[in-house]
């Protein structure tokens, strides 16, 4: 079955492709595959992939409206034949120290979900997540889908500052804060590793479509990996 999508020009150098109105894994796989193909093209200035959409900004020295539309249509129809294949996704393991010492909302989350803290850790770390979108701040990956038992609405009052490395959950998603920033998600742990490397070509540890797993680590391991205990 041909992939159905809605294509529109937002202006003379940007177009926007919508692949349906619902979040699902196949759509996300296709969007990630398309975004990856565009990354190598010097005529594409940038793209922003999200759950069901792809925003493409092109360089008018390389493409005009006719050629970009044709090019994207072709790329999308080539995804159709790939649909059965498994797109190779990187699997990235993020070590997490789950403890109230670095996770101000861990106890509250356990209470709100009606489970023990150990169960929160188990439920959060046994799922393999998928990076559906990257944004909000550089390297901030929206990972889904969180186990239903852990799904809570965002905090009613966001924190003005969430410490870098904080691992948080909200609704069906989880994420790691790559840098200190405001945030309204529930913090259940902290990772000692860096999600942003300003010296690296790719900048962000995580890319669209990556598979991500969280691995519980002890206080000693956390410290050995350089984890800090500062609270804000």
């Amino acid at each position: 079955m041909p992939i159905s999508y809605n294509f529109q020009f937002l202006n003379s150098t940007s177009c926007f492709i919508e692949f349906g109105l619902h979040v699902d894994e196949l759509t996300s796989i296709r969007i990630a595959a398309l975004a990856n193909k565009l990354e190598e093209d010097e005529g594409i200035e940038d793209s922003v992939a999200s759950y069901t959409t792809l925003l493409v900004m092109f360089d008018p020295r390389f493409y005009n409206r006719v050629t970009i539309k044709r090019y994207l249509d072709q790329l999308i129809s080539s995804l159709e034949s790939d649909a059965g294949e498994r797109f190779s996704a990187n699997e990235i393991v993020i070590p997490v120290y789950y403890d109230p010492e670095v996770a101000p909302d861990l106890m509250e989350v356990a209470a709100a979900c009606g489970v023990t803290v150990d169960a929160v850790i188990k439920l959060h770390s046994e799922t393999v997540y998928r990076a559906y979108a990257i944004g909000f701040t550089p390297g901030y990956a929206y990972l889904g889908n969180l186990n239903k038992q852990l799904q809570l609405p965002r905090k009613s009052t966001p924190r003005l500052k969430v410490t870098k490395g904080s691992v948080a959950i909200a609704e069906q998603q989880t994420a790691v804060y790559p840098s200190d920033s405001p945030g309204g998600w529930h913090i259940i742990g902290r990772t000692p590793i860096e999600l942003i490397d300003w010296q690296s070509e790719s900048l962000s540890l995580l890319s669209i479509g990556d598979h991500v797993r969280f691995e519980p680590i002890s206080r000693a391991e956390y410290q050995a990996k350089g984890g800090g205990f500062n609270v804000l």
Binding site: N11, V48, S50, Y51, L55, R65
Partner: protein, 306 residues
């Protein structure tokens, strides 16, 4: 071989045409807010289109010239003076060692662009010098800071001055209040009445305006469509939050958002809006993608005529 910053001004930033290829990982592009003025400045000096310049917002900047060069001043009239004598935008000036170049306060517009022959020399961060303060990227030290007193801005010294000015027909008319916009995103999910109100109303710029976006005040626009799954935000997106007061998202915008959007203003529209301040009035005129393309091509011709 440099300017010394005697007084850094309110907000003076090193900018180019923005950082390409990193919105995919959530980094704002940054870049000159008024792309027309920026491009004209580099064209006046025969610089590369992307050569680094100063974006001077509001003014209060004083630079000491350490070595001769040609400079181009474009964009807003911020009451600039060279050794105490008034100078006007849209032309080049010979700068000599010991000169003082000062910017007072806005007389007309908000952001001025200062280009020097060959461009300011500044190390790129991720392929661009554009300063995005919120994300601590770009600028002189690469950490996204605005200019500070004592900063040294390097350039290649040049004794041959190149006198040049932007022809009248190519100077953007900042008195225009009509901002061209291409309808897009969820515009079909706004009722026809709401769309008509949006396009026929006058909005004023609120006090919340910066490089990220301009929040407007006026008739609230109601959105009755479905909830939005977070999606990529293109330059100039007009976002309608729950209170119905439109926000136009510009160079330092976040890359992803979940509010309904009615379309995108054009690069010319963004240049005009970037020169507005709180209380200024604007309205929106719907144009087609073809018209946006013509606008871009027309500007390309104007650049060549400089």
């Amino acid at each position: 071989m440099s300017f010394k910053v005697v007084s850094p001004g309110i907000l003076t930033l090193i900018q180019d045409l923005g950082r390409k290829g990193f919105q995919r990982v959530g980094l704002s592009s940054g870049g000159a807010m008024d792309e027309y003025a920026f491009r004209l400045g580099n064209a006046l000096l025969r610089n590369k289109a992307n050569a680094a310049q100063l974006e001077i917002t509001y003014g209060m900047l004083t630079l000491e010239v350490r070595e001769s060069t040609s400079a181009a001043l474009c964009g807003a009239d911020l009451g600039a003076t060279l050794n105490g004598k008034s100078i006007l935008p849209w032309q080049t000036y010979a700068l000599k060692r010991g000169d003082l170049l000062a910017f007072a306060q806005p007389k007309y517009g908000l952001r001025a662009y200062l280009a020097v022959a060959g461009g300011l020399q500044c190390d790129e961060t991720l392929g661009s010098v554009s300063t995005v303060m919120r994300e601590h990227v770009g600028g002189l030290d690469g950490k996204g800071e605005k200019l500070k007193k004592g900063d040294v801005l390097k350039y290649q010294p040049m004794d041959d001055h190149f006198q040049n000015r932007v022809p009248r027909h190519a100077i953007p008319d900042y008195s225009l209040t009509e901002i061209p916009l291409v309808l897009g995103y969820q515009y079909q999910q706004f009722s026809r009445i709401e769309l008509a109100h949006f396009l026929s109303s006058t909005y004023s710029v609120s006090k919340h305006f910066d490089r990220m976006g301009y929040r407007l005040e006026g008739r609230a626009i109601r959105y009755d469509g479905e909830g939005i799954i977070s999606e990529g935000i293109a330059y100039g997106s007009v976002q309608v939050p729950n209170d119905g007061q439109p926000i136009v998202l510009l160079r330092d915008r976040q890359t992803i958002g979940g509010y309904p959007k009615i379309g995108c203003i054009t690069v010319l529209g963004g240049a005009l809006l970037s020169q507005k301040v709180a209380g200024d009035r604007v309205s929106f005129a719907a144009i087609t993608v073809e018209e946006d393309e013509q606008e871009r091509l027309l500007f390309g011709h104007k650049l060549k005529s400089v």
